[in-house]
């Protein structure tokens, strides 16, 4: 596709369940970023990949959050033992190289009941 694709668009889970969010970046984009956007707030950085290497995970809020990009293309953000405070929109962005403009997907809205 022409843009960054994220799935699912909406995810509802019960507290304590594990969830997996998928990101398909723009083809050929080396850099991939995950952000968390709480309601009424700006996006906050979670983690950064260059190809398959996770070079920065400083923004991950706890060890319940895990991200991977095994083949340097599709990425998955996994949240284990979800908590209500995990409810947010999770945005994925990709760029050709890391300092180039980032192209955002439309996000996955995660609601934890």
């Amino acid at each position: 596709g022409a843009g960054v694709s994220q799935s699912p668009r909406y995810k509802v889970a019960k507290r304590g369940q594990d969830v997996a969010l998928r990101c398909d970046p723009i083809s050929g984009h080396v850099s991939l970023f995950w952000y968390q956007q709480a309601l009424g707030q700006g996006p906050e950085f979670l983690t950064y990949f260059q190809n398959e290497a996770q070079l920065d995970k400083s923004g991950l809020p706890s060890d319940r959050f895990f991200a991977e990009r095994p083949e340097g293309s599709v990425s998955t953000l996994k949240i284990q033992r979800t908590q209500q405070e995990d409810s947010a929109v999770y945005l994925c962005a990709s760029s050709l190289v890391r300092n180039q403009p980032q192209h955002f997907g439309d996000g996955t809205r995660l609601s934890i009941l």
């Binding site: 960054v4 850099s31 970023f33 009424g40 707030q41 700006g42 996006p43 906050e44 950085f45 950064y48 920065d56 923004g59 945005l91 962005a93 890391r98 300092n99 403009p101 980032q102 955002f104 997907g105 439309d106 996000g107």
Partner: protein, 112 residues
């Protein structure tokens, strides 16, 4: 501690008017200042960006004004249109960094 402070939180403008959104920062290491536009249910999209070596940048109806000494920058939308109704985020990034720090956003409504 919010590194980029954005105001106002919401803004209502009549069609044809000027929309002005302001941002302030403290970190003097910031050297790249983008603005993003976000429609409901969509991801942010880069609108316009500026570096501190210029005081103003214009692209169509959108202008960034930058005041380095005051550590402030603003977005002006001239001849505002209903289609401009969206949430606007300012952001700032340190030199050599790939992580933008976002403001909290301004919800703009342009009445027809």
């Amino acid at each position: 501690q919010q590194q980029v402070k954005q105001s106002p939180q919401s803004l209502i403008v009549q069609k044809g008017g000027i929309s002005i959104i302001n941002c302030a920062y403290e970190n003097t290491a910031f050297d790249y200042f983008p603005w993003y536009q976000q429609f409901p249910g969509k991801g942010p999209a880069l609108l316009i960006a500026i570096r501190p070596d210029v005081s103003e940048k214009k692209e169509g109806r959108f202008t960034i004004s930058f005041n380095k000494s005051a550590k402030q920058f603003s977005l002006h939308i001239m001849d505002s249109q209903p289609g401009d109704s969206a949430t606007y985020f300012c952001a700032a990034r340190e030199g050599g960094s790939y992580i933008p720090t976002f403001g909290r956003g301004t919800s703009l409504i342009v009445h027809p």
